[in-house]
Amino acid sequence: MKTAQQIANDVRAGESALVAVEASLAAIKARNEELNVFLYVDEDGARTAAEAVDAKVRRGEDPGLLAGVPIALKDNMCTTGIPTTCSSKILEGWKPPYNATVVDMLAAQGAISMGKTNLDEFAMGSSTENSAFGPTRNPLDPTRVPGGSSGGSAAAVAAEMTPLSLGSDTGGSIRQPAALCGLVGVKPTYGLVSRYGLIAFASSLDQIGPFASTVTDAALLLEAISGHDPMDSTSLPEPAPSLVAHVNDGVAGKRIALVRELVEGADDAVVASVNRAVEVLKDAGATIVELSIPELHLGLSAYYLIAPAEASSNLARYDGVRFGNRIDGDDVTAMMEATRTAGFGAEVKRRIMLGTYALSAGYFDAYYGQALKVRTRMIEAFAAAYQQADMIIGATTPSVAFTFGSKTNDPMAMYLNDVFTIPTNLAGEAALSVPFGTGEADLPIGVQLLGPGRSEARLFAAARVLEIADGR
């Protein structure tokens, strides 16, 4: 399959955008039933959009950074008139009357939205097994999970249905499936990409980011969707950073910290991949320092108080009054209860209860309040680390893709899958996962690169060094 960059170049040079769109539709038809990647495929919309791009090229107008590039959207981003479900029965059939800002930005850059991809319900999960519409399978080994919660968006790129996709990352939901599917996945700095129209899971942690099979494509997509949005109060005021131009900047002179807590407990193959990546970066001119950030151990506990607390409030609006499913009851309270009982899956209910408890009078200080303090310490600990290093390296996940059902009965085991990715979300900083080496059953391993806010260009450059060393 051609990369996004190649497609955009070809379209600008006069090739019809329909070529890539038809190839994408064919790939979706070939494997969607088996893998359950797309919940909705917008065939007509994609063809119409491709024709509009072609018309622009014919008129001599700039068709945009992503001219004619097919892209898949995680189904928690609002799309006008197109069902947006969050993989939940509670939103089944709901068609938003507006587009998420990123959806409009993609269209403005000539990208072609192919449809909406599966996820763990309301982005709560690490395997896409929590979808009300069935699990997504890992295209590299359909007996295994693609990771989650953005499992559908990861699988779309891994199955070569689209060269690009968007996910959202609240505690690792882009980086973890990227690692498990052998892709580049980026959790941008909080505020770099607008959240307007992204259906909230945990507002202070959520961030939209790209999946791609190459570092350059990921940089291209992130560049296209970054920048200030007046509709999102938490959006950073600065204009979009220049990323693609710096992909080949290398790591010479950069200080890279190998952080013990970000490999601890990982499988041997994963640890070996990280160590090998460190050697590659050293050979490319980076200075390696070894660091310990003990605060990272606290991340998981803090996250599982803060994220559910915000979720318990964010998900209150699904009450059957204005949109989505409604189950009638004797009075309004009974209607709300029946609607929520029938509409939400087990993991969503678990987190709503956790969060409600953590915020309750009498428990607030011990749980939510304490978690906020931990979060502040985490931010300070990262800031101290970035005094000694320009970026941090570690594992993305403890293991390669796991098999279906192997963690569904043990929520803690599932939550531990995100232990290396969560700290970045708590700190609001940038991180990405880049495939580097393989492990069990020849499945891909992801190496994670972390940096301070707005350090994406630096991280892409380091990822590119690893990508080249890995023979891609």
Binding site: C78, P97, L198, P230, E310, D319, M336, F364
Partner: protein
């Protein structure tokens, strides 16, 4: 009203005012009353999934203006979510301010000099409006409920007084003064009946100097009169319970205007845990010093000062005149009275005409220049127009503008010549010999009888003072 057996009321008031902004607090929808249901809504104020709030700058300015007008400390502040389920609250949480409000620690001085402390005046969003169909009119037992989200997201400031108020009259004066201030600074239109200004009263009773008693919160107070009546009813109810050896239960009570009583709405022990936490979708509010200074400098003169100015022009005031001054200042009509004063005219007459004729048609003031008002009052003062004629001229000016002298002429309001008046009076005396005799015998009340006849005969063109003079000369 005084309470029996040495009891004293302790009252604290929570006043919600809708801010007079063009748009809602977090979106671009119009903030206007009275439109067709659900026509002023968007994904944000409907709380649709994925939508996010963005702060309305004008609302922040008006909130700060309220703070300055109430002598508050204006501070950097934060927003929280107040979580509870209710069908007219689209997100099932309300974005409000919690532990750090924009305005804190102020006070309001009542016209009699009594100072009521203001604990806080914080910003929040309004909810939609539910209409319950069915016999009960309340959510419980309703057949169906209809929700209008036009009001959802309208900016509110909640002004919380300290428990300083001791009588129902003081409570009334406090709300009247607060309302006048909010109108004067352009923060609110102050309409209690339409709900743009809503008052909840916390009422408890105690024996003088005893610790505060358990309070009840009274809702549904839609006028100053309701406020005063409800407080009085509630205080007496509590006293009766206490004197019978009972205890007051902390609860929220509903004022029923028709039945003139309060009844339990919900008991506080059942009150929900709102699970407040910082609103992650908004950044903290930190207006810089220059912005604060601009808002402060832009504050107009407040009602107390404006009333003082007008009152100083009148000397000794009757209660009616004091009310008239308050009306004028409430409605921002000061300039008419001050214009007459500047022209060395009759301020008392100007006050009466402003408080009655202009206040009755405030919308018409755009047609009535101060100069034309001053001229009309002068014509009345000089006897060129009778009171009735002056009112008619003012009515016409307010309705469609124009020149007062020209209007008077067009209406035929030339004063009757003294000859014509004399002839008319003579004819009427002849036609009513009994009444004339009684007047001659000293019954002064009959002067009004003759004035009435003369006005009728002259279609209001006669000047009342001139008629009396004519009658006296013939007595």
């Amino acid at each position: 009203m005084s309470l029996p057996n040495g009891w004293e009321m302790v009252i604290g008031l929570e006043v919600h005012t809708e801010l007079k902004t063009k748009t809602k607090l977090f979106c671009g929808c119009a903030n206007a009353f009275g439109s067709a249901p659900n026509t002023q809504v968007c994904p944000i104020c409907l709380g649709l999934p994925g939508s996010l709030p963005v702060m309305n700058e004008r609302a922040v300015e008006l909130a700060m203006a309220i703070g300055f007008a109430l002598n508050c400390t204006i501070q950097d502040s934060t927003f929280h979510r107040k979580n509870y389920f209710y069908p007219d609250m689209p997100k099932d949480y309300q974005i409000s301010q919690y532990d750090v409000p924009i305005n804190a620690h102020g006070y309001l001085t009542l016209p009699d000099g009594f100072r009521v402390s203001i604990e806080r005046a914080h910003m929040e969003e309004d909810t939609g409006k539910t209409t319950h169909l069915g016999t009960s009119g309340r959510i419980h037992g309703a057949d169906r409920s209809l929700v209008d989200y036009n009001r959802s997201g309208v900016p509110l400031v909640e002004i919380v007084s300290g428990p300083d108020i001791r009588t129902s009259q003081q409570a009334r004066d406090y709300v009247a003064e607060l309302r006048a201030i909010l109108i004067a600074i352009g923060a609110s239109d102050g309409r209690m009946e339409e709900g743009s200004l809503r008052v909840d009263a916390n009422v408890s009773v105690r024996k003088a100097d005893a610790p505060f008693g358990t309070r009840c919160e009274i809702k549904n107070l839609n006028s100053l009169r309701s406020l005063q009546r409800a407080i009085e009813y509630e205080a007496l109810r509590q006293i009766e319970v206490l004197e019978d050896g009972g205890k007051i239960r902390q609860e929220t009570r509903h004022w029923d205007e028709d039945r003139g009583e309060t009844s339990t709405l919900r008991v506080k022990e059942e009150a929900e845990d709102y699970r407040y936490f910082r609103e992650p979708d908004l950044v903290d509010l930190a207006p810089d010093q220059a912005w604060r200074d601009r808002v402060k400098a832009g504050l107009p003169r407040l009602p107390a000062e404006r009333r003082g100015l007008i009152e100083s022009l009148l000397g000794e005031l009757s209660d009616a005149q004091r009310d008239a001054v308050a009306t004028i200042v409430d409605q921002g009509l000061d300039e008419y009275v001050l214009g007459v004063a500047d022209a060395k005219g009759d301020v008392s007459l100007a006050l009466a005409r402003t408080a009655n004729e202009i206040a009755a048609n405030v919308a018409g003031r755009t047609n009535l220049s101060v100069a034309n008002f001053v001229a009309t009052v002068a014509m009345e003062q000089l006897g060129q127009l009778s009171a009735t004629q002056a009112k008619t001229v003012l009515g016409e000016l307010l309705e469609s503008g124009g020149d007062p002298a020209a209007i008077a002429k067009a209406k035929g309001f030339e004063q009757l010549s003294s000859d014509t008046l004399s002839v008319t009076v003579g004819e009427l005396i002849e036609a009513n010999p009994d009444e004339w005799q009684r007047f001659k015998d000293g019954d002064d009340k009959l002067a009004q009888f003759f004035i009435g006849l003369v006005m009728k005969a002259t279609k209001g063109q006669a000047n009342g003072k001139a008629v009396i003079a004519e009658l006296q000369s013939r007595r």
